[in-house]
Amino acid sequence: MKIIFEDIKEHFVHYLVLLFLLASGGLAFFYFQRFPQAQIVSAFLTASFYVLWGVIHHYLEGDLHLRVVVEYMAVALLGFLVLFTLVNRV
């Protein structure tokens, strides 16, 4: 836990932005629960902004690399497809 807190402390503003992004995405997703298309758009935008966050964060840290971007895209794609599938199953 100490390691996690140290990491957050080191990049406090970045994680705050990420938290805001994910919280907004979550709220939008919940708000549009009776509107599947809006939910899908919310999920897509959250995933996209997540990748963008990763790119900007690593650029500012000076360790932006294609492999890093691909990793964020892989997780974002999995997350989006999971939510897309669940919304369409409703």
Partner: protein, 300 residues
């Protein structure tokens, strides 16, 4: 054992990153997830008795809960009217037969047509629809949370109610339709209302419905209703629940793998070019929470 070690723990052999959280494995996982979902769709079509949709909604319970909401506001209970129930059953059957989810059928039949075809002459009429709900409480809750549907449920103009709960396949998906028809018979003495005297056949408060038009007298074919209100044998589980279980498992494993990555790599202080495992964990937690909060059911 070494395969598990390689998959979940970062070490020199896997370049200090667990195999499962590498981009290549994540893409493979995504592909497998999609394949499983496609397979699930085919299985649902082939074996609907195993994997399908079932609910424990009954018309009696819907009426009971509706009257409970009305009583909270001091309104009189709605009385069950068999003609309205029959009209509701005909409406549900029509939706299944002609495969539509709307107040007005593709051929232009308005909800009021079902009232009159069942022999119910109305002074006021209203309709609420629901589908894909598991329990009656969720149906009522959804209606009460929607201003237009709530207005129907707690409208003091209505005196009678009819409800149909019918299982079937709508737009390729097994579901349970709930049709709630509310009405006041023509000529009934209604409580004085603030607005002007009620007009005959007044349009209900469901704003989406088109204006009532003069219906041409044509013979209307009623759709034969089979096994109305009869509940199908309960299925083993639903595709939604199965998918949710799979999501919990996959996302849970990934979150665990990222957590191990944080602990091991940070402790060793291993320099590497990689995404932040903490950020990845946060995103996956968002996906997990959002996915678990998805509720079934739609109202109209």
């Amino acid at each position: 054992m070494s395969a598990i070690w390689n998959f979940f723990f970062p070490h020199r052999g896997n370049n200090h990153k667990a195999q499962i959280i590498k981009a290549s494995s994540l893409f493979v996982l995504t592909f497998l997830f999609l394949v499983l979902q496609v397979g699930l769709n085919f299985f649902v079509l082939a074996k609907p008795s195993v994997l399908g949709f079932s609910s424990n909604i009954t018309p009696e319970r819907i009426i009971e809960l509706t009257n409970l909401e009305r009583s909270k506001l001091g309104l009189a209970d709605l009385k069950l009217n068999q003609l309205l129930s029959e009209a509701a059953r005909q409406k549900a059957a029509d939706m299944f037969a002609f495969n539509y989810w709307a107040h007005v059928s593709p051929s232009g039949r308005t909800p009021w047509t079902f009232f009159t075809d069942a022999g119910y002459k109305y002074q006021y009429a209203g309709e609420n629809l629901a589908r894909d709900f598991r329990d009656p409480e969720a149906v009522i809750r959804a209606w009460m949370n929607s201003p237009s549907h709530r207005e129907n449920v707690v409208n003091e103009k209505y005196q009678e109610i009819g409800v149909a709960v019918v299982d079937g396949s709508l737009q390729g998906v097994e579901t349970t339709l709930v049709v709630q028809l509310l009405g006041t018979p023509y000529g009934a003495i209604s409580k004085p209302v603030e607005k002007a005297a009620p007009k005959p056949a007044e349009k209900p408060v469901v704003a989406e419905l088109p204006k009532e038009e003069e219906q041409q007298t044509q013979p209307v074919e009623t759709v034969p209703v089979e096994t109305l209100g009869e509940k199908k044998q309960s299925v083993l589980t639903s595709p939604l629940d199965l998918t949710k279980a799979l999501v919990i498992f996959v996302i849970g494993v990934l979150i665990g793998a990222f957590a191990i990555d944080i602990l091991v790599v940070s402790r060793r202080d291993t320099p590497r070019i990689s995404s932040h495992s903490l950020a990845q964990m946060m995103f996956l937690l968002f996906v997990l929470v959002a996915g678990l909060l998805i509720k079934g059911g739609a109202i109209l």
